[in-house]
Point group: C2
Chain length 193, copies 2
DNA sequence: CGCTGGCATTGAACTAGGACAAGAAATGAA
DNA sequence: TTCATTTCTTGTCCTAGTTCAATGCCAGCG
């Protein structure tokens, strides 16, 4: 059960058995049914969750009530509103919702602090996780600005081959920053080639 | 000379005098003339720079040769391709260029390691810096997708009031993800109100 | 089984913003 | 001061993507 997350956290920093034991002992397991909103706008995000099983989306709602999906998280990904919460004491501007029945390992701000004090090397591992999120988000920004809808969709398929089977088309459209109708047109155009 | 950067690094983590002394002793001062490219595509980013004075831009070049500006950095901001370099051993996909004559304090990967080993609390401060970058980039992604050119420009003026005087319009257009010509039209429309 | 409510598709009309071109204005080097 | 280069503006035409509406689809539920 712990092997997935232990492998993930060890990706850029090597930990010995003692450290991983501390890590595992602080994890909180949680199962969440599908279509559950785990973080509301204006709430403080009180968790950092690792997806053992399932699929989650994180999204903003714009001034006209339209959703913009910032991130999908599936197995072996982390999801949280890490960017503001807990460090700025600013309430979250995003929603986090399960799209499927999910199983998580979670850290609360408190258990994360406990982890860092008991095994400081994890501070580095978490910093690198954030850096990777930053890299992904920067790439996404670049793609959003510089590519056509068709290019963005093809790249999405390449990058997340399984996701297009698991989530509704209109969520993918929202992630790509295009309308659901236009994505449908793009798809029929691609299919005809 | 060190007060600016010491204030900046102490924003979310409190350091004592000893720690700040270690920090200051590891900084490398560097002056760079305007229009200098500090990081080329496919190079490894070997610095993390704090802007004491001046203005810098970080940008991608897309498949058609168009620049997309990811970030401006002015006084008291950090600039680097922190997202990949040094941790993935992947070469940078971005350019970093000075727009004005600049003065920096820099860390190399080595001096940063030395800092973390001598004063581990800095690891946390740097993690929080990355989280703030992530928050800013996420907001930018959301704005890029969900707002009109006019809204984006007005928000830019509000958020970076001095920058619109310091950098060329077409750089701002590139940052906002619109053409320079269209930004000009937006500006005249706004001026007429 | 049939019904209901969310999904996806398709089409027609519309628009925000892009591409191109040409001129005006500002900057800067000599 | 002049010439050159870059930046900014303005106009015209064009297109990628939106909006709105109608239709069909299929999954879950009584």
């Amino acid at each position: 059960m712990y092997s997935q997350i232990n492998k993930n956290i060890s990706r850029y920093v090597t930990f010995d058995a003692d450290e991983l034991e501390i890590f595992d002992s602080l994890l909180q397991y949680k199962a969440v049914p599908k279509k559950t909103i785990m973080l509301q706008i204006d709430e403080m995000c009180s968790f950092e969750a690792f997806v053992i099983k399932g699929c989650v989306r994180k999204y903003y709602i714009d001034a006209n009530g339209f959703e913009v999906i910032l991130q999908f998280a599936i197995e072996n990904a982390w999801i949280s509103d890490i960017s503001f919460s807990n460090y700025e004491d600013k309430p979250s501007r995003v929603y986090i919702e399960t799209l499927e029945d999910c199983k998580f390992f979670m850290f609360s701000p408190e258990t994360k602090e406990e982890l860092f004090s008991k095994a400081p090397k994890f501070e580095r591992a978490f910093r690198i996780l954030v850096q990777r999120s930053l890299a992904v988000t920067q790439d996404r920004l670049f793609n959003t600005i510089s590519k056509t809808a068709t290019e963005k969709y093809l790249e999405f398929l390449e990058h997340y081959p399984t996701l297009s089977q698991r989530v509704a088309q209109h969520y993918i459209a929202s992630y790509l920053g295009i309308s659901a109708e236009f994505l449908s047109k793009v798809r029929t155009k691609i299919a005809k080639l």
